[in-house]
Amino acid sequence: MRMAVSLNRWSGGWVRAFVTIGLTFALTAVLIAFSGKSPITAYEALFRGAFGSFDRAAFALNKATPYIISGIGIALCFRAGIINIGAEGQIALGGLAATWVALSWPQANVLVGIPLAFLGGAVAGALWSGVAAAIHVGRGVNEVLATLLLNFVALLLVGEALHDRLGEPGAGFPQSPLFEPNYWLSTVITGLQLHVGVIIAPLAAVGGYVLLRYTTLGFAIRVMGTSRSAATYAGFSVPWLTIRLMLMAGALAGLAGAIEVLGIHYRLIEGFSNGFGFNAVVVALLGGLHPLAIVPAGLFFGFLEAGALSMQREVGVPSSLVSVIQGLTMLFVLAALASTRQRTN
């Protein structure tokens, strides 16, 4: 209820997103100049690093995939006024469940194993989100606190599993053994590290859009986001809607975790998804909580991270600048959204 009022009024979203990004880059340029480097040279390197070659672009697309997939679920929740920030933990548990499937049935057929691992990831994410939903709906606990606290428990559970049953003996680092190649997500184009997850992300976006725009559930989400009492009056059960949405968001986040593990690392590594869930919140907001607009927002983040690495390598500008850009973007979007609400009210 709280913020959804404004978030549904995302008009001129493209303009706002570009102004936001422009402002962020202007401020960041000052920081770069402050450290004695030329912002233009640095941004050139950033751009080259992001788009310079097919390999770089593939790297960026892979980076964007988990942000987009979990961002869709977050956006659906936020649209209904449920501030669900539990993706961070759900992604990690999704990766854990996929790992468990891959290590339990190492010889499974590709057509059985990978869907099963995806399913495992989605179910794990949904279950964890379900815990938060149950606490929120059943006991009236603030959903942000419930999802935030459960994130940390989830991350520690992954660490526990890696130190205990799933860890690679003698690795010296908390990681699982390498999966059998039949669990490696195939690449889309031969010769590029672009895994099939990049196809799932736009599909999820279209699915989210259709759901929100053309289904009864989508209508219910929009009504609930505008006014909970209106939703109740229209005959929708707010608690039941909340549970369904949080399960859905959890499943998407878990799936994103499974894709990351099977597509990039081919093993579970402690901290493989650090910051993914929080970045997905930024992506969802930057995309104005519109499922289709989340795709370019996620791509922006993916390319930004890819570019920052080569900016550090080539120009010597620390890649921690990415966090600065992400944080600033998020704050500007939030302020812009909120000030629109102030004016329209």
Binding site: F34, I83, R139, F152, P318, V324, L334
Partner: protein, 305 residues
Amino acid sequence: MDTLALDFLVASLRIASPLLFGALGGILSERSGVFGVGIEGMLLAGAFGAAVGTFLSGYLTVGILASVVCGALVACVIGVVAVRYGADQMVAGLALNILVLGLTSYLLRSLVGGGQAPVIQVPLLPTWPIPLLADIPVIGPILFRQQPLTYLGLIAIVPLTLLLFRTQVGLTLRAVGENPTAAFAAGAHPNRVRFAAVVTGGAIAGLGGAVLALQQIGTFTDGMTGGRGYLVLAALIVGRWMPFSTFLACLVFGAAEVLQLHLQAWSLPFSSYTAQMLPYLIALAVLVMLGRSSRLPAAIGVPYR
């Protein structure tokens, strides 16, 4: 009391002291109706200010002052975005934490390191045993043989409690957190009160960063607060936004961390990960048990306009 138990308590208080500052700052912010998700960023900014300030100036006092200033400065971001513009407080807090993480790491490299990650060493604040009192058995070593900022944190509990519950300012602050409209009708300016509470809270939380940098670690490293700000949020819930109870919660969390550090030495039957989970699980259990009656300030998270 045997020395093992005594060491345990001393270590718990030591680990709890940065949390304590974060929690005292968080109480101000959350009691006024603004979620303290950004405390992680304020602690980190404080630690950065303390370490870099001390390193560049050579004076520990400059470092301590810098930690207060840095904490308050980054809290201003929350004040502007979440209070002035009324954006979602939780998400604004997360954004601040991401921003501060990047900014401190970046500034450390460009201010001191010339692009590389420098290793800066700063002297630690010495222990100040209080004459006579420090010799009292049991209590002496725990309470009166500490570093200066720990004393400050322990003492600060009293004025903060008095401020919140015995003064007009505290009444206004709590009223704004419970029902800003009514507070406005009574002549207060809810958003000014909130802004002041958030920034003051940030300054106090910044000191928590100084404790970490100048009393415990002696340097600054990227993300050195390592989620302590989120532990503080859990402590606030467990302590139900009362200064002394929240301090006790911090102490319990400190004890959980000491347990985790000594698991192998004491051959306890659970893993370090389980011990690290304890604070979050306790906070969740408290929330679940209390449910709607958890005494969360009624208007927390709700922008006033």
